[in-house]
Symmetry: C2
Subunit: 211 residues, 2 copies
Amino acid sequence: MPSPDEPSATPPRPAADHLVVVRHQVTSTERMARAGHAGAVVWLTGLPGSGKSTLAMALERRLFDQGWLAYTLDGDNMRHGLNADLGFSPADRQENIRRVGEVAALFADAGAVCITAFISPYREDRVRARAAARERRFFEVYVNTALATCERRDPKGHYRKARAGLIKDFTGVDAPYEPPERPDLQIDTDALDVDGSVAQLLDYVVARCRE
Amino acid sequence: MPSPDEPSATPPRPAADHLVVVRHQVTSTERMARAGHAGAVVWLTGLPGSGKSTLAMALERRLFDQGWLAYTLDGDNMRHGLNADLGFSPADRQENIRRVGEVAALFADAGAVCITAFISPYREDRVRARAAARERRFFEVYVNTALATCERRDPKGHYRKARAGLIKDFTGVDAPYEPPERPDLQIDTDALDVDGSVAQLLDYVVARCRE
């Protein structure tokens, strides 16, 4: 279909060329009006075992139940697909988080609340994720759970293995976690149970995304 | 090896954690029931200038107007973000298409009709994109426009430059385009005007995604 800048003095063309160029896609404003909320990235960060996935899934559920578009990116759907080519070297971990940030931005652009559940231990990587979202809403949420609590939970036994030296570069044990200095929201899961944590998160997101 | 993500299911933990593990996210069935349609990937392929982007935008518009979730991935939102690290070498082009396929699969998983508008000249790459979508609906749509028509339109002046040797490896000129052998849908834009093409595409998608 001809380009909008095609000169008007072109020779007669077959029917296929008598086309109206559709210049714009559906706008964010239209998507927001339809959904009743803005697109956004809810970026959960915290130590392994801090409860990010639990919170992400519960938030997704609650948002869906109130009629919102919500989708969670986590290791499950990212590491087995888009990021299946990445390993666990520092460069690959950084690229993993970069891609999560870019995909989350696409979902926000599509009008969804995109929740991400990754340790994302480095401030610099989280700053890049926010930058990827550009003018869209981006909330850095620090799931602040004491290391001792995370280690006691040890859902996959990784802390135990890390302490035994069986796995290396494990965040919280022999790799650093850089807590957010000024997170948009901090959830103190040592003080709140899961319902309280989810309620805090839900209230925060809804208040800032509702049209 | 340390996991980058939180587990979705954990073994029994001390009651002191006060946490209920939320194992499942919102299901595809629920998303479909809400939206009134299934998630899907509509993969447009065709020569440069064949009209993929025009069709994609028009389809997105029409689907949105009938209340569907629809989002288009194209060079604009992919090359400037997620794939900004990729150039135009054969390997990078392949990786570009691989990532588009994986992201489209995520959107389909989220319940959206994800339309992709990329030349995607190689059959192998399109096969991989379909595989990425796994059990989700995936429609390979061949936007079949004669090379002569594409070249006459030449919306970006690329054909002219390619013929002059100013750009290399341009699909249709000095790089191959492998047409789909058995596309799910073929749109003959030399026979149909844009409205007719969009109508054909819309009817096809709606019939196969409506619950």
